[in-house]
Structures are given as structure tokens and as C-alpha cells.
């Protein structure tokens, strides 16, 4: 089934991490396999790179080699090893596409899980409680975030297949999806023929590839989201978040639920109202957007993070 969440703090008055955690927890029965969040924190002049460490015995050795490869692309300011990830901060002048290609080419099984000036994705197999234990989601701060609880229907249960997905090649763009893109295989074939690479076999990944392609063709994010209503077949309520926006898209038949609540303080989106009520109380009305519609909000630039 899957559950998706989105939260935009307009006034800096809500604890972002705690809100995300409560919403994720409320949707964990919809998605018992995996959980993840994409948080947009304070904007950094550096690239924040989340790397999934492939399974192996000599982790320290692997980290050392990854750092060497990264340094071949440019200065590495900082690095941290956290559970399944290596988090790098690298010089902002480095070409992010070159960096990703270098790392992936040289290290079998490595995946760049997110890259951006403010985007950080953490995700894993297991429950939101497990995610909290490993990555302290509840303490994270930021202006906005999206999250996902997964019930695998089409593909493997592992970290690589879990969401949120970074739209590879587009810094600071992430998606979460509830539903099934039924023309995934046709779209994937077309994209691979044109040189796009896929990291896993989850149909939801094609959303980020599609957005990357449409943006490269000159469309704004909003227009790319709008055109996806025509270009995707199947069921989808999906959210996209960039450094300065949060958006939802709902398929033309309204196959998958989505509830949206907006007040002067926040914009909150969740697959089920129960998540909104648990995290945010009762002083707002939540509405289900009509099928075949999208909504997009700009992150207020003066939110202190």
C-alpha cells in the first residue's frame, strides 16, 4: 500500500523531525517494510552527499577508498559514517554528475542516495521506530521534508528499493510515491536507450528520471509535474520536494488517497488523515484534492533553520 508524508514549516514554529516521526509512525501499518525521510535542512555552500555503503567486511577500508575517489573530484570538507551511510560534504564547485559517476564507476554496489545543498535522505528496511533509532529523525531540523513507509508490491525489500528517491542528476530533488506506475517498463526502456541509468527495479524510481528529463528539456518543476499527469499510467499520489518547493500530484482516477492541510503555520500532506491528526492536532480542516490535480508550495525564504 505505502504511506507518504510531506511537511512544510512556514513559520519555523514546529519541530520538523518530531512531526515527521509521528506522521511516519501513524502510517507504518500501511508500509511495514521500510521507512525513510528526505529532509531539507540549512542550505550549505557545499554538496551534502549521502552514500550507501555496499555490504562488506572491511567497512573502514571501503570508506577510505570512497574518500580517495571523492578527493579526486575535489576537496572533501567533512565526512561521517552513520549506520548504512557515509555522509560527505564536498566542495560546491565540484560537478555533481561527475562526482556521482566517479564514485559509482569505481565502487561496485555503491549508490549515491542523495545529493544537494540542503537535501539529506535517510532510509532503511524496517519501521519508523527503527529509522529513528539509527538516524535520530526526531532531532532533525529543516524547512520542509517528505517521507515514506513502504509496502513492497513489485520489487525487492532492501535499502536501495526503499523511498524517498533522489532524482539522480538533479541536486536537491526528491520524490515519494504511493501507487504503481504501470508504464514503468516502457518508460524505462526509452530512458535507458537515451543513456539514463536506473539504480533499482522499483517503478517509483522512474518519477525522478522523468522529472530530470523534463527539467533538462527546459520545463519548470511545476510544468514537469503537470505533464506527468498525462505521461504516467497507473495509480499515483506522489510528492516532489526541491530546495524551495513542496508539491503533490494525484492521478486522474483518484486511485490513491491523499489528504492536504494548510494553515498559516504549515502545509501538511499525508496519505491518511490519521497521520495529520496525530502529529498536528485538531485545529485545521484537511481535504482530499481532486483526481488529476497537483498542488505546489514555495518554501518561504525567511524560515529560520
Amino acid at each position: 500500500m505505502c504511506g507518504i508524508i510531506g511537511f512544510l514549516d512556514k513559520t519555523g514554529s514546529r519541530p520538523l523531525g518530531q512531526t515527521l516521526l509521528t506522521m511516519l509512525d501513524a502510517l507504518s501499518c500501511r508500509g511495514p517494510d521500510s521507512a525513510g525521510v528526505a529532509v531539507f535542512g540549512a542550505s550549505s555552500p557545499f554538496w551534502i552527499v549521502q552514500i550507501m555503503l555496499p555490504e562488506q567486511e572491511d567497512r573502514a577500508g571501503a570508506v577510505k577508498k570512497i574518500l580517495e575517489s571523492a578527493r579526486d573530484c575535489g576537496p572533501v570538507i567533512n565526512h561521517q559514517v552513520m549506520e548504512a551511510f557515509v555522509r560527505l560534504e564536498v566542495d560546491g564547485t565540484i560537478d555533481p554528475v561527475v562526482l556521482e559517476e566517479t564514485l559509482v564507476r569505481r565502487h561496485a554496489g555503491l549508490e549515491v542516495v542523495s545529493l544537494g545543498h540542503s537535501l539529506e535522505i535517510v532510509k532503511q528496511v524496517g519501521s519508523p521506530a527503527g529509522l529513528e533509532k539509527a538516524y535520530s529523525i526526531g532531532k532533525r531540523q529543516g524547512s520542509h521534508a517528505i517521507g515514506h513507509t513502504r509496502m513492497s508490491t513489485e520489487s525487492r525489500v532492501d535499502l536501495s528499493h526503499s523511498q524517498p528517491f533522489w532524482a539522480h542528476g538533479v541536486p536537491d530533488l526528491a520524490t515519494v510515491h504511493n501507487g504503481h506506475i504501470t508504464n514503468y517498463h516502457k518508460l524505462r526502456r526509452q530512458y535507458e536507450q537515451r543513456g539514463y541509468r536506473f539504480c533499482n527495479e522499483n517503478d517509483s524510481e522512474v518519477i525522478g528520471v522523468y522529472l530530470r528529463d523534463r527539467i533538462a528539456a527546459g520545463l519548470s518543476l511545476a510544468d514537469a509535474l503537470r505533464s506527468s499527469l498525462d505521461d504516467f499510467d497507473g495509480s499515483f499520489s506522489y510528492l516532489a520536494a526541491s530546495a524551495d518547493s513542496l508539491a503533490y500530484v494525484k492521478d486522474r482516477f483518484g486511485f490513491k488517497p491523499l489528504m492536504v492541510a494548510e494553515t498559516v503555520e504549515f502545509v501538511a500532506i499525508a496519505t491518511e488523515e490519521i497521520a495529520l491528526r496525530k502529529a498536528l492536532g485538531r485545529d485545521f480542516v484537511s481535504l482530499e484534492p481532486a483526481p488529476g490535480t497537483l498542488g505546489i508550495w514555495t518554501v518561504p525564504s525567511k524560515v529560520a533553520v
Binding site: 482516477f253 491518511e272 488523515e273 490519521i274 480542516v285 482530499e288 481532486a290
Partner: protein, 228 residues
């Protein structure tokens, strides 16, 4: 009798409801529902239950003879498969409200989402606001009244059943046609709206089945190709 949902599972809440009803309580308030699913399913006695807040999916489903009020909004499938009784939703209703009901009355004071009244087999669905895409899809019998506007594909593949719309219809579904309401229709509508204190428009459009899809006729194969 009051039941507070806080810190209780849905199973516990429904058990408490059933136990109260078995003890002869017939006026029950359920507090802080906060979007929980499956509340008050299978109510088979003529009791009065108020949900003081918003509920999740399938609230008051599989009901026979109770009277339920939801003082908030409701999620998908509210009152689904109801045999008899009433469900009144103060706010908005999610997709598939009154799905497959066989009798009784469901009232949505706000808006209803997609597939409102899907496959109704009797009873009445009254919507004070608008309804969404494909409302009354495959409706077999019963009456649906929309005071506001109806979304695309209204009453697609409807068999019998009647839909009255006070506002605009974005588009009619396959084999749905417009007909003039009768004087009797107008009177019934007025009474219905009054009994639930809903101010509706003065006139309604009437949508019924064109009956072209009831039987297959080779001459109409083009119509079937479109429908299928």
C-alpha cells in the same frame, strides 16, 4: 455514554461500542476519533452514535438500522454496504461514500469526493456540496442528490437509480442521459432537503440510464466499443 478513543486501538473502541449497545445504551458519543479507520462497523441495532471529530475509512460500514452522526469529515467508503439507517457527515466525505448501500440515507453536508454513491443498490445519498469524478458509477438503484456540481463521468454505466444535480455537471458518463424531473420528484427533493436542513437550489437536473447498455445489440457495437 461516552467512549474516548485516545490511547485505544480500533478493536478496543469497537468492542466498547458493542458492549455498550448490548447493555442497552442507545445514545453513545465517541470522542477524539482523530481519523481512525473502521469505527462503528457492523452496527445492527437502532442506536444513536455520534463521532465527535473526523473519522478515517469505512466508518459506519455494514450497518443495519443505526443512526450515526460524524461531526467532522470522513474518509473513504463511509457507510459502505449499509442496509438501513442514517449516516450524517457534517464535513466532507472521501471517495466512495455510500458505496453499495441497499437502503437508508447518507447525508454529506460538505463535498463528496470521487465515486460517491458507487454501485448503490437502494437508499438515498444526499450531498449538500459538490461531488467528484465518476459519482454514481454503476449505480443499480436508489436516489442520489447533489446540491452543488458533479465531476466528470457522472452516472457512468448506471443501471437504474436516479441522480439529481443542482449545479453544473462536468460531463455525463457512458449511457447517462438527462430527463425532466417530475412534479413528484420536485416535491420529494424539497422534503428531503428540508428534513436535513440543507438549503439547495430551486431546480435540479435529473440523470437516468439511457438503457442502451442494458442489452447487447450488434447494431450498437460502436456504443459498446466506447463504453468498454
Amino acid at each position: 455514554m461516552e467512549i474516548n478513543c485516545r490511547d485505544k486501538t480500533t478493536r478496543e473502541i469497537n468492542r466498547l461500542l458493542r458492549e455498550s449497545i448490548a447493555c442497552g445504551d442507545n445514545d453513545i458519543r465517541v470522542l477524539e476519533p482523530d481519523g481512525r479507520h473502521n469505527l462503528g462497523v457492523g452496527l445492527l441495532k437502532p442506536v444513536y452514535v455520534v463521532f465527535d471529530g473526523s473519522v478515517g475509512y469505512y466508518c459506519a460500514g455494514m450497518m443495519d438500522g443505526a443512526n450515526v452522526e460524524i461531526r467532522g469529515s470522513a474518509g473513504w467508503g463511509t457507510a459502505e454496504s449499509m442496509m438501513n439507517g442514517t449516516v450524517v457527515i457534517d464535513g466532507n466525505a472521501g471517495s466512495g461514500v455510500a458505496a453499495s448501500i441497499r437502503g437508508g440515507t447518507v447525508v454529506v453536508r460538505g463535498d463528496a469526493a470521487a465515486r460517491a454513491g458507487v454501485s448503490m443498490k437502494g437508499g438515498t445519498l444526499l450531498i449538500g456540496g459538490n461531488c467528484g469524478y465518476m459519482a454514481a458509477f454503476m449505480m443499480q438503484r436508489g436516489t442520489m442528490v447533489v446540491c452543488g456540481n458533479a465531476g466528470h463521468a457522472l452516472a457512468d454505466s448506471m443501471y437504474e437509480g436516479t441522480v439529481f444535480v443542482g449545479g453544473e455537471i462536468e460531463s455525463l458518463g457512458n449511457d447517462a442521459v438527462l430527463e425532466n424531473p417530475t412534479a413528484a420528484d420536485r416535491k420529494t427533493l424539497q422534503k428531503l432537503l428540508e428534513s436535513y436542513n440543507i438549503s439547495g437550489p430551486k431546480s435540479f437536473r435529473k440523470v437516468v440510464s439511457g438503457r442502451k447498455l442494458w442489452n447487447f445489440d450488434r447494431k450498437e457495437i460502436d456504443l459498446w466499443k466506447v463504453a468498454l
